[in-house]
Symmetry: C2
Subunit: 196 residues, 2 copies
DNA sequence: GTCTATAATGCGATAGAC
DNA sequence: GTCTATCGCATTATAGAC
């Protein structure tokens, strides 16, 4: 979207990783451990083995760097929600989003934790209507049509609750299949509740 | 525990609030909004209408201030868990802790969010074995005896998930009774699952 | 219990060479 | 794409007066 003439937005996997990708990797690791405000550009530069000034070639400000790290996750979730919208039954929609969400979460656990629970990211998103909407649409789809406050509470509890297991050593040590199955099952239990 | 000759550790409610309590109130509000690392002593001082130096009369370092703000919550949760331990059935224990937890969470929402989701607090607790144990015991009791990784995942998802609704405007606008009932019901749904 | 003043360090950000 | 060097400012923390 901003990278000029790049063949793909995602990590090339084949060609050598771009400088930006290396910045993302270091920044994300540190953001997840120390929080965005607790991570200085110096720490990121040291982690990459370059100087602070080199970061400014890739991003004009720290805020843009943070958004650059978080945006791919939000866009991926957004695409999953859009695809789910085209399914007929609510049940199928929820299952589709749950599966997609676990995918995202499993190979981008750090971004998920940072994006959903860091206060600095929260404030940045408040100033970007488009990115904020992506999160809202996820909640709206999972909460169902004409959601009550109770539906919304269960949905938000589930989504924010994902960050706990992602940071817990015993949970991250689980076999991936078991982790996936448990999360999806828990999601069903919370989201597919018969209305009273 | 540290305050000399103070009649009570909790807020007096009758006598004028102590200086420490005023520090806690300002700090907590700002920690919840900007995160611990995103909150400077200057911001806290400005919020209280005093100078930065005045804070150092109450706490020697920022780290001690943070722990001073968080400790009352952890001790309260710890007492609830201890009381629950003396009940016979698992069902009664879980119900007791759920009720107590919602109490704590409702009148100290900000501390709960800060204590459970701020990375700076996480690192501080890592260096205080006693405080860290309080959190672990809560997880242990709710996860049940000889918990599987699945039990633990559900428990942690629930506990960390509470922070979402606490920060969501629509959820906090719910009548307290409804909020309480929904959280307790969700907790039952996640924690009292028949083993397979 | 709060103030002014200040020390020492780290921060985000910029300029210009290579 | 990365470097050195630097600017201006905010940060935690201390010393000493009131």
């Amino acid at each position: 979207m901003a990278t000029p003439a790049a063949p793909s937005q995602a990590v090339p996997a084949d060609r050598a990783v771009s400088g930006r990708d290396r910045v993302h990797a270091s920044a994300l690791r540190l953001f997840a451990e120390f929080g965005v405000s607790g991570t200085s550009l110096q720490m990121i530069a040291d982690d990459m083995g370059v100087t602070k000034a080199a970061l400014y070639y890739h991003y004009k400000t720290k805020d843009e760097l943070v958004l650059g790290v978080i945006r791919p996750l939000l866009e991926r979730v957004s695409r999953t929600v859009e695809a789910a919208r085209r399914l007929r039954s609510r049940r199928a929609q929820v299952e589709f989003v749950l599966d997609g969400l676990v995918d995202v979460v499993l190979d981008a656990r750090r971004s998920y934790v940072v994006a959903t629970s860091d206060r600095s990211v929260g404030h940045l998103l408040e100033r970007d209507a488009e990115l904020q909407q992506m999160g809202e649409r996820l909640v709206d789809l999972l909460a169902g049509p004409d959601p009550t406050a109770v539906d919304r509470l269960r949905t938000i509890l589930f989504l924010s609750g994902l960050t706990g297991p992602l940071s817990d050593p015993e949970c991250t040590a689980m076999p991936e299949d078991e982790f996936r199955a448990t999360v999806v099952d828990t999601g069903r239990r919370l989201l597919l509740v018969r209305r009273t």
